[in-house]
């Protein structure tokens, strides 16, 4: 790494740093960067635009109130927001109290998604892996992911053994990981 490179600060880090200092314009920039993925996830889970807007508002306000909850050493900001949005949306869908503390969300081996091109590349690759999965595996993974269903509920709905559902879900997630390790 050259000395010039060493001085480069990630745009996400710069934004979070500005938010920590109380800069509202930094929050607007961050919203412009990540609101599409946050809203898409919330809408996909909840299926209701009003509810998705509420979750989006809640997620961004949470970051505004407590930017220290995001630790850059624990994953990239886009992925972190996406996971928090998904978890919070599932909690809302299932009408349960929030179960995940944002500060506990640690993400390993997530590719950099700071730029729009990066996000598009990652999204395309993930969609490719998902579409290549057997339909039963993709369905189990999506029921768990987007509907927050437990393995017991999925097994009951599909009429398949619990162990099969567990295996499909884990294998599906590992398949996604392997696509980015190659």
């Amino acid at each position: 790494m050259s000395s010039a490179d060493a001085k480069v600060v990630s745009p996400d880090l710069a934004l979070v740093s500005a938010i920590r200092a109380g800069d509202a314009s930094a929050m607007a920039s961050l919203y412009d960067r990540y609101s599409s993925v946050v809203y898409a996830v919330a809408l996909r889970v909840l299926g209701d635009t009003g509810a998705a807007e509420d979750i989006q508002q809640e997620v961004f306000m949470q970051l505004w109130r407590n930017p220290s909850a995001f630790d850059a050493s624990r994953g990239n900001l886009g992925a972190w927001l996406a996971v928090i949005t998904r978890n919070r949306s599932v909690d809302a869908l299932r009408k349960r109290r929030p179960e995940t503390d944002p500060e506990d969300v640690v993400l390993s081996v997530v590719p950099d998604m700071a730029g729009q091109a990066d996000r598009s590349r990652v999204a395309e690759k993930v969609r490719g892996v998902l579409s290549g999965m057997p339909a039963t595996q993709r369905a189990a993974l999506e029921m768990a992911y987007y509907q927050g269903m437990t393995h017991t509920e999925i097994a009951s709905k599909t009429g398949e053994p619990l162990g099969t559902i567990k295996t499909r879900i884990r294998a599906g997630l590992i398949a996604l990981r392997k696509a980015f390790e190659a």
Partner: protein, 258 residues
């Protein structure tokens, strides 16, 4: 895959928030002590984040952006650094001090917890090892002393079995096992007595015994034997059953030097 196989599938469910009840409690307990599974959980959460990026949908309405900016303007953040410099907040300081103290206590408790856990594991291993040793020792004793043990004396071909005894003596632990065979049957009112004879000292009583119908007898760890006594000779005498038994008074039957 670095995680423990038995938790592998539960880790994936836990990352999705789909694990409930006892399974969840068992996994969370395991995670407290297993860094490999914690790492795997982080990786699975990363995998879940990948799924989010593939989610397609319409962009949020423009009003959502304005709604957020309005909310922010009504909830301005006071930069932490400015606040810290402007006024020393004793209440906050006390809170932080208490939190720091609690952190130290928690760290110490965790250390002690790990220490205790290690001790318990070592004790469990020791107990297991001792159980095996005791079982082996018991098996040896059963073989030597059981009434249905086959005791075979090998002698020169065509020779006649002679009375004989073997003494196994561990002086530091006062351990003594004596096994005799081919002993003549006792006359009425008589009994055999074993003696431990130290060098240059009086014989020490080491147990009274009677042989069984086949002439076999054993003495195991006779009570009252002092520890650490050097044994020069072991001897067996034929004594009056009514005593006294504190010193040899009868006739010698067999003896052997240590």
């Amino acid at each position: 895959m670095s995680a423990h196989e038995q938790f592998a599938e539960d880790l994936a469910l836990h990352a999705l928030g789909a694990l409930q009840g006892e399974e969840r409690a068992a996994l969370e307990k395991h995670l407290e002590t297993c860094s490999a599974c914690r790492l795997e959980l982080d990786q699975l959460r990363g995998d879940i984040a990948l799924m989010a990026t593939a989610t397609v949908g319409p962009k949020p309405p423009q009003r959502a952006r304005q709604r957020l900016l309005d909310a922010i303007s009504k909830a301005p953040r006071v930069p932490t650094v400015v606040q810290a410099r402007s006024r020393f907040n004793w209440a906050a300081a006390l809170g932080w001090a208490a939190a720091a103290l609690m952190f130290v206590v928690v760290v110490q408790l965790r250390r002690e917890n790990f220490g205790l856990r290690e001790s318990v594991n070592k004790l469990a291993q020791l107990t297991s090892q001792q159980t095996i040793e005791v079982a082996n020792a018991q098996r040896v004793m059963d073989t030597l002393t059981a009434s249905d043990t086959q005791a075979v004396t090998l002698v020169v071909a065509k020779g006649r079995p002679q009375p004989q005894g073997k003494a196994f003596y561990l002086k530091n632990k006062s351990g003594l096992v004596f096994v005799a065979n081919n002993l003549p049957q006792l006359p009425p009112d008589k009994i055999y007595e074993l003696w431990l004879i130290p060098p240059g000292a009086a014989p020490i009583p080491a147990g009274l015994f009677k042989p069984d119908a086949r002439g076999n007898a054993t003495v195991v760890n006779p009570p009252g034997l002092p520890a650490g006594v050097e044994a020069k000779t072991f001897a067996v005498t034929l004594e009056s059953a009514s005593g006294p038994h504190d010193a040899p008074h009868g006739t010698g039957v067999m003896q052997g030097g240590a």
